[in-house]
Symmetry: none
Subunit: 242 residues, 2 copies
């Protein structure tokens, strides 16, 4: 395993109930480049035929998933363990957001793991006790029911954000057209408007010109867009087609 792989957190599903949710969690992981899943006592055994279809192509994550008999065994090689839970446990541990946890994970040496509890009940106190910190998603206090794959994707997303690896591909944005092109567009429009009385009354003409110029300056159109608008004006200036 190379260093980049070692820096990725391990997602540990503790006593997951539905194979479908294991598959969805795998998909959520791979969406953001996480690949190592560990399962602690999955209720219906492993492999689980319901997991594959729900993974929607993230089969590699499922195939490599390792199964452990206890949470302690699953995190035995980890230096940083986070317990994902919303509930107070009476355990005095630091509480961090996914963002804070991700920053720690990417900046500190040693392997990291994030524990997620069973769908219905969440992590047990014994599981939480293994963790150095509690990871809590800052959620609507009146509606805190977050499903397993959703909790996983938010953690994976935050890890990815803090990796700063992924930027959306910026389609080549063209620079605004040179001012001369814009001037020519404004002049073209003014020539057409003049005979229609747009700049009357005379004493308002200066303000009207400035307003029009302002409206056309704001967009920062590029040269292709200016060319499109010149074409629009030329067409408007034509006689209707027979």
């Amino acid at each position: 395993m190379n260093e980049a792989e070692e820096r990725k957190p391990i997602i540990v599903l503790v006593r997951p109930q539905l194979g479908e949710n294991i598959g969805k969690a795998a998909r959520a992981m791979l969406n953001f480049g996480l690949v190592e899943m560990r399962l602690v006592e999955p209720r219906d055994g492993w492999p689980n035929p319901s997991a594959g279809p729900a993974a929607a192509g993230a089969d590699s994550v499922l195939e490599q998933a390792q199964v452990f008999a206890s949470t302690a065994a699953a995190v035995a090689d980890c230096a940083h363990v986070y317990a994902s839970t919303v509930r107070k446990r009476g355990v005095t541990k630091p509480v961090v957001t996914p963002e804070q946890a991700s920053r720690e994970i990417v900046s500190k040496p040693g392997r990291s793991a994030i524990l997620f509890g069973p769908e219905r009940s969440g992590l047990e106190t014994e599981d939480v006790a293994l963790a150095r910190a509690i990871l809590t998603v800052p959620i609507n206090p009146d509606f805190g029911s977050l499903n397993l794959a959703q909790a996983v994707i938010l953690c994976a997303y935050e890890w990815s954000r803090n990796q700063s690896l992924a930027q959306p591909p910026q389609e080549e944005l063209l620079a605004p057209a040179p001012q001369a092109d814009l001037d020519a567009l404004v002049a073209h429009l003014e020539r057409m408007l003049e005979p229609k009385g747009y700049f009357l009354p005379e004493h308002r003409a200066e303000v009207t010109r400035r307003t029009l110029r302002g409206v056309l300056t704001k967009p920062a159109w590029n040269h292709l867009e200016v060319r499109t608008l010149r074409g629009v004006l030329s067409h408007l200036d034509r006689a209707p087609r027979p």
Copy 2:
């Protein structure tokens, strides 16, 4: 609707296929305090009996969901429209991350909407054309399949994260005109261009319309600026003054 509610983005599901996914999207929204869902032509009609169970308690979101016959109608009152899509469209629009979009949403005046396409196919080019920016989650380039509720929860989460950054709106800055005003401007110009042969040849008409729409969507003109341009068009349409 109070100001805090108005600052929340509207989640617009365009032609969603499965009621279950509508319910899951509602749950994801409410997890982070978003409450306003709009549906454009849901495949199986509305209400959909599969939505409620999947919402897992977020029934209020579903009950208040409004249904629209077109994407344009669904965002007619919105000043900021984002199209959530991963695919290149050949449409030159700014591409933003959920984080960047959220910062804009909480800091700019006017209502915001985020469009999500059908589960299988994503947004159509026509839908994307209505938006000023494309919202793309920076995802694993080798595994970019993000399901609907997952895409919604990441946007809702980011909005929630950036909420606290909300600045009071700058007084002098007018919000972009509602989308309906922009539609009327585009329609006005098209009516004038049609008889001049601008949309010929026929097989190019669709692309030409989209290009024109893009040029006029980019500026984010406010209602005064749109009114100025309507005045310009009315004058151009007149006979020359004697």
